[in-house]
């Protein structure tokens, strides 16, 4: 093992406990200050345990559904676009996709809400559209960086193109793909706060209620919980990423 590996491991481990500790600290601070204050009836209603749990649940559901949808769409699409016959199509798709990333997420949401109405599915669609790009791009990049000699060796020993994809290319692309999925996940946690504008609930609606009723503690609680959620999800994703990375590479 080289020193560089050790350094990488050390920082990886450092991260792996720092994130959940910060997240837990944030949650503790939020609840401690809620408990320490006299809450008026609106605050009490919005910040009750069940209410918060319900918002967090909605939020997670949005993130989970849209991330799964992103993976199911972007990974096969990325694989398809990086097959030899499709290379010509791959580059422009990636360019268009990159340009799409620059459109503000709130813009997509509002646009879709105006066009198609509101609801959880509208929120899911916009989250998917938004988080598709990192996964698509990383799938294509991950496949492209696989050593040509390995593909050659695989074909040379009689593997079909499909067998090479499954046994050689995809496993070697997994680390890069996972990094893309992690980015998508974090994007989704953030962007899902905007889902309140399509009436899909989530922590965003806590924040929105706080703004509408002019209750700063509610706004703060909603925002801080979102941050804590993002940190926890990132940490979990990191743990999965390390666990799923193929050995030997």
């Amino acid at each position: 093992m080289s020193t560089r590996d050790e350094v990488a491991n050390a920082t990886g481990e450092a991260k792996s406990w720092v994130l959940p500790v910060i997240a837990a600290a944030l949650v503790v601070i939020v609840f401690a200050s809620i408990n320490a204050r006299e809450l008026d009836s609106i605050e009490a209603r919005l910040l009750s345990g069940e209410e918060i749990l319900a918002r967090v649940g909605e939020h997670l559901r949005l993130v989970a559904i849209s991330t799964v949808a992103v993976i199911l769409l972007a990974v096969p699409l990325g694989v398809l676009l990086s097959r030899p016959g499709m290379r010509l199509l791959g580059a422009p798709v990636l360019a268009v996709a990159n340009a799409g990333q620059a459109i503000p997420s709130i813009g997509i949401l509002v646009l879709l809400a105006i066009l198609f109405g509101v609801g959880i599915w509208m929120a899911v669609i916009s989250l998917v559209l938004y988080a598709l790009l990192p996964v698509l791009r990383n799938t294509m990049v991950g496949l492209k960086q696989v050593d040509r000699a390995l593909i050659d060796a695989g074909r040379g020993m009689g593997m079909s193109a499909r067998q090479v994809l499954v046994t050689i290319e995809l496993p070697l692309a997994v680390p890069v793909m996972l990094a893309g999925i992690r980015v998508a996940l974090i994007l989704n946690v953030g962007v899902a706060t905007l889902a309140t504008y399509t009436n899909a609930g989530g922590l965003g609606s806590l924040i929105e209620s706080g703004i509408v009723f002019n209750r700063m503690p509610v706004v703060l609680a909603g925002s801080i919980l979102t941050v804590a959620l993002a940190l926890s999800v990132d940490w979990l994703a990191g743990v999965c990423e390390r666990g799923l990375r193929p050995r030997g590479i």
């Binding site: 050593d147 390995l150 074909r155 590479i249």
Partner: protein
């Protein structure tokens, strides 16, 4: 053992969008159990020719038979499972263990698990790697030489009659390379595969090949003969150039003293050399021309000195 195993008939290749042939029409026969080495400068089409044999490259024309069967009649994936293929980059799959890498082709062929395990252990043994110590390792935990041994074991996995090897030892340090060549020759004496081996290194070609095919530009086959035949009678100046200096000394490496006959006595002209020539090059030229005396030229004719081969050897000996 003189059955033809691989036959090329006017095989040629022109890559899309290129003006000239990467491989000009080429015909040759390779016998069963024969170790044939393709040698030639980089870019002369050796790899392309090799890859046409297992259809990694589709020929633009001509036909190829392996063991009497036209390869274009066989599904390429099926064909390749029965032809060993070793490349310079080795191409071990990094996320599979050494044992899994060696067992890849048997697995593709649908062998039972314990049969694969037994075969894998046998092959690792064959290439000099302890299966217990190495089977569970990942490729990056091996040295370059060990990786290439695994590459050879993997190519042998399904016991293919034909092995194609593209500069397999090219990326390995000279000492390890020499050892691998030695071991591989010993291995070949036991397994008697039909081998087509590509290299750009003349020494490697002459050391390994039963027969050596010397290619010129555009895969023009210039000479196809035994190493001794090539060193003794180079077909033309191109081959002579390609062999470089030292051919006469190298040729001695292929002869055993028992092979020699007493020569007819003959009058031999002395070789004229200048005082700056190295003893090595002078001996090389004496050997080539069969001279037994040299005249070392001085400033003027009076300063010329003469040395016999015997005196040269005594003066040059380390004692």
């Amino acid at each position: 053992m003189s059955d033809v195993m691989i036959r090329l008939d006017e095989v040629h290749k022109r890559y899309d969008g290129q003006a000239g042939d990467a491989v000009a029409p080429l015909s040759m026969e390779i016998r069963e159990g024969e170790f044939v080495v393709f040698v030639g400068p980089s870019g002369c089409g050796k790899t392309t020719t090799l890859r046409m044999i297992n259809r990694m490259v589709e020929p633009s024309g001509g036909r190829i038979w392996i063991d009497g069967r036209d390869v274009t009649d066989v599904d390429p994936d099926e064909l390749r499972k029965h032809i060993g293929y070793v490349i310079q980059q080795v191409g071990l799959i990094p996320h599979l263990t050494v044992a899994a890498n060696v067992g890849l082709v048997p697995k593709l062929l649908g062998w039972q698990r314990d049969r694969i395990e037994a075969r894998t252990a046998e092959l690792l043994d064959l290439v000099g790697l302890d299966p217990a110590a190495f089977g569970g390792r990942y490729p990056k935990q091996l040295s370059g030489g060990q990786q290439q041994r695994v590459g050879v074991a993997r190519a042998l996995a399904a016991d293919p009659p034909v092995m194609l090897m593209d500069e397999p030892f090219g990326a390995i340090d000279p000492i390890t390379r020499a050892r691998l060549q030695e071991e591989f020759l010993a291995l070949q004496r036991r397994i008697r595969k039909t081998i087509v081996f590509v290299t750009h290194d003349v020494d490697e070609a002459l050391r390994l090949g039963d027969r050596v095919a010397v290619f010129g530009e555009g895969s023009r086959l210039v000479q196809f003969d035994t190493p001794l035949g090539i060193l003794t009678n180079p077909a033309d100046d191109y081959v002579r150039d390609f062999l470089g200096s030292g051919a006469a000394v190298r040729r001695l490496g292929l002869l055993n003293v028992g092979d020699l006959r007493k020569p007819e006595p003959a009058d031999r002209l002395p070789l004229r050399v200048s005082s700056g020539d190295s003893v090595h090059s002078v001996l090389e030229r004496m050997l080539r021309d069969g001279a037994d005396r040299v005249i070392i030229e001085g400033e003027s004719t009076e300063d010329d000195r003469e040395l016999t081969l015997r005196e040269l050897l005594m003066a040059g000996s380390a004692r």
